[in-house]
């Protein structure tokens, strides 16, 4: 939340290219109230100081388990949920300072695709009307031109043009997700938050939708913030990956680097827990004890310390919030026990540290 995080999000940007989206120290706390006067008794710290950049045409994946704040982060960036603090810049514009027409114009460039293809489409509107709505709101096309554009969009997502007159309930999950994608594409966005877009789909259909998202990205130069919990899907689709835990980004790196050499103990455990469809493979699996703590009552210091299996975990981990720091070129990690760290040994000792950090080569996932 403080200074160390501020410059954090730049993992391996393409040289000289400015980020399309720059988020700094984003915070969203939901108040917990009690009694008829709704007295505020605490807060759910859903997002607690998140910084990230998304570059034009890339896919940044945001992964983590339920309750880690990934969905809230995505929605706060679009201001579908009003952030409590932090800075969001889209193409240079200060998103949090905008209102009214200016915000509406900006939203044309920032779209979202939702997880649940059953509840995210209005059951009383035809598919054509759903896709067309954005065209009307943003005054992009009317009448015949709008009809033609709707047909073009449906074709682009692999649906026949005659589906425009039908209603969402007539479609399967995968087809509905295609409708949701057509709706997002209608306003010609540059950036799309994909919030678990394939989690509700069966494997065979999931592959169709992933391929479609990749095709559209290539054709339109779209940037994605891809929010997901399925690490196999993320490895396939992401250029860079940010791992979230209890409202914090705890590791951020290129996808290849992160999957090959995870540094944060949480990421290592997360990757080792993914079931692999290969019965011959003997794996060293890290089983974490316990559950994710409640974001209403997060642990002090490193949010992961109560479950952390790191052999050098000590009292310093319970007192110091680890800064997200660059441990390898372009590889950002929040852990004071994985060297190199800017939190010096004397500093750790004064916070109760008894185990000096030492480079530990992460046990490769084999």
């Amino acid at each position: 939340m403080t200074a160390p995080n501020a410059a954090s999000a730049r993992s391996a940007p393409p040289n000289g290219i400015a980020p399309l989206l720059a988020v700094r120290d984003l915070v969203k706390h939901f108040p917990i109230t009690r009694g008829v006067f709704r007295r505020r008794v605490g807060a759910v710290r859903a997002v607690d100081g998140v910084s990230l950049d998304v570059f034009p045409g890339e896919t940044l994946a945001l992964v983590g388990e339920s309750g880690c704040g990934k969905t809230t982060t995505g929605r706060a960036i679009l201001r579908l949920i009003e952030p409590s603090a932090g800075e969001i810049r889209f193409d240079g514009a200060d998103v949090r300072a905008l209102g009214g027409d200016a915000l509406r114009r900006l939203r044309r460039q920032m779209q979202i695709i939702f997880q649940d293809p059953f509840s995210s489409l209005n059951p009383r509107m035809t598919v054509g009307a759903i896709v067309r709505e954005g065209l009307t709101i943003h005054k992009l096309a009317e009448g015949e031109a709008a009809d033609a554009r709707v047909r073009e969009l449906l074709d682009e997502v692999g649906l026949r043009a005659d589906v425009a007159s039908r209603y969402p309930h007539e479609f399967s999950g995968g087809q509905r997700q295609r409708i949701g994608i057509a709706r997002a594409l209608a306003v010609e966005p540059r950036f799309i938050v994909c919030d678990e877009p394939v989690s509700a789909l069966d494997v065979s259909v999931q592959a169709q939708v992933i391929n479609l998202l990749e095709d559209l990205q290539r054709e339109h130069g779209l940037a994605y913030l891809f929010i997901a919990h399925d690490l196999s899907v993320v490895e396939h689709i992401a250029d860079r990956v940010a791992v979230m835990y209890l409202g914090h980004i705890v590791e951020l790196a290129d996808a290849d680097e992160l999957y090959r050499r995870p540094i944060m103990p949480y990421t290592q455990a997360l990757l080792s827990a993914v079931p692999v469809p290969d019965p011959t493979r003997q794996r060293h699996r890290i089983i974490l004890s316990g559950d994710v703590p409640s974001p209403a009552n997060p642990p002090s210091g490193c949010p992961f310390h109560p479950r952390c299996p790191h052999p050098r975990k000590d009292d310093a981990c319970t007192r110091l919030v680890p800064p997200l720091e660059e441990k390898e070129p372009g590889h950002l990690v929040a852990c004071i026990k994985q060297t190199p760290t800017t939190v010096s040994w004397p500093e750790q000792q004064s916070a109760g540290g008894t185990m000096q950090p030492e480079r530990i080569i992460p046990d490769a996932l084999g």
Binding site: E156, N211, A273
Partner: protein, 346 residues
């Protein structure tokens, strides 16, 4: 049957199980349509398939939990520990449920009763199926919670389901299911609603309990990764039928059925960054109108005339390996690569 050595007799034997839903009019949803398989003592059988393939209806049929308009059709047979479950009266089947055969479900929140404490619900199993006193039942419930790795079990037993996390709820469900040391545990997507780190805990727990209690597990899931790590034998369902059955290694090394092949290649996996995922075109057909011939033919890259008219039988491919595909009779028609030509969707 009496001459068969006990070790080789199946614990559960299902023959020609058909569970149809007579939803009015002339349409009948043939959700499960002629399914046969065995579960041997102490083994874990994986039942895998996508939504609507009939895997959950199969498991509910075993416990006779099918309600109208669903019906287990005449001619179906389910033998368990030498008894025909379909001919038992309601009292007799109730004595088996939760006792000799237990079930755990995907969503522990909806399967636990919100107005009773977890301990009461687990203890009730012992009260129903044994002569245990109220206090004995409670003590056994607490003991069971401890065995499934619930911390501070005596305190947790006094809590209500909503007070527990998803992982703890699933452990409480498992405790309830294992209370009577069942011979067969049916686990229907037991980890689908859980995060991967919690899923890993639960799968580990199930494997450990299986060794300790010596039960068989019928593991129903859509996740081939979970199957690979837990099952010894796999059944693949598609459109109400079993389309392939194989030992787990055979299935992953040498899948025969084009649907299995498609499923395996459609899933992204760790360490495999292909440019494009291969896809199975189209969608699962509706159970009220399964396609004629092979039910997979309209999505199959190898299909030829025969597939459109002749329903394939289960062909023997190898030891313990069967496949419902005419390619077994005409292998030359399998031309590689089947699903590689994934054209852009647009």
């Amino acid at each position: 049957m009496t001459s068969t050595p006990a070790a080789s007799a199946p614990l559960l034997s299902i023959r020609d199980l058909s569970t149809w839903f007579h939803t009015g009019g002339r349409s009948v949803a043939r959700a499960v349509d002629g399914v046969s398989f065995d579960v041997m003592p102490h083994e874990t059988v994986g039942l895998v398939g996508e939504s609507g393939c009939g895997k959950s209806v199969t498991s509910l049929s075993i416990l006779r939990l099918i309600e109208r308009p669903g019906r287990i059709e005449p001619g179906s047979r389910i033998d368990f520990e030498g008894r025909d479950l379909l001919s038992l009266d309601d009292r007799a089947i109730r004595a088996i449920r939760g006792n000799r055969i237990s079930m755990i479900f995907q969503e522990p929140m909806t399967s636990l009763n919100p107005v009773f404490t977890v301990g009461d619900q687990i203890a009730e199993v012992a009260r129903v199926h044994s002569t245990a006193s109220r206090r004995e039942a409670w003590e056994r419930a607490v003991d069971m919670l401890q065995q499934v790795g619930v911390p501070a079990p005596a305190d947790r037993a006094r809590e209500y389901p909503h007070q527990l996390s998803g992982g703890l709820r699933q452990r409480a469900m498992i405790a309830m299911a294992l209370m009577m040391h069942p011979a067969l545990l049916i686990a229907d997507e037991p980890t689908t609603a859980l995060d991967v780190t919690i899923q890993a805990q639960i799968l580990e727990l199930l494997a450990e309990l299986q060794t300790r209690v010596g039960m068989s597990i019928l593991l129903i899931t859509h996740d081939l990764g979970v199957i690979a790590e837990s099952a010894t034998r796999v059944l693949v369902m598609y459109a109400g039928q079993i389309v392939e059955e194989a030992p787990v290694r055979t299935l992953f090394d040498a899948a025969h059925h084009p649907y299995t092949e498609g499923l395996l290649s459609a899933m992204p996996r760790l360490g495999d960054r292909r440019e494009r995922l291969t896809v199975i075109p189209g969608t699962v057909p509706s159970p009220t109108q399964w396609p004629a011939g092979c039910r997979f033919h309209d999505r199959c890259a190898y299909a030829w005339d025969r597939c459109r008219t002749d329903a394939p039988p289960l062909y023997q491919i190898g030891a313990g390996h069967v496949s419902r595909c005419h390619l077994a009779a005409e292998p030359a028609r399998r031309r590689a690569p089947a699903f590689a030509a994934a054209a852009p969707a647009s």
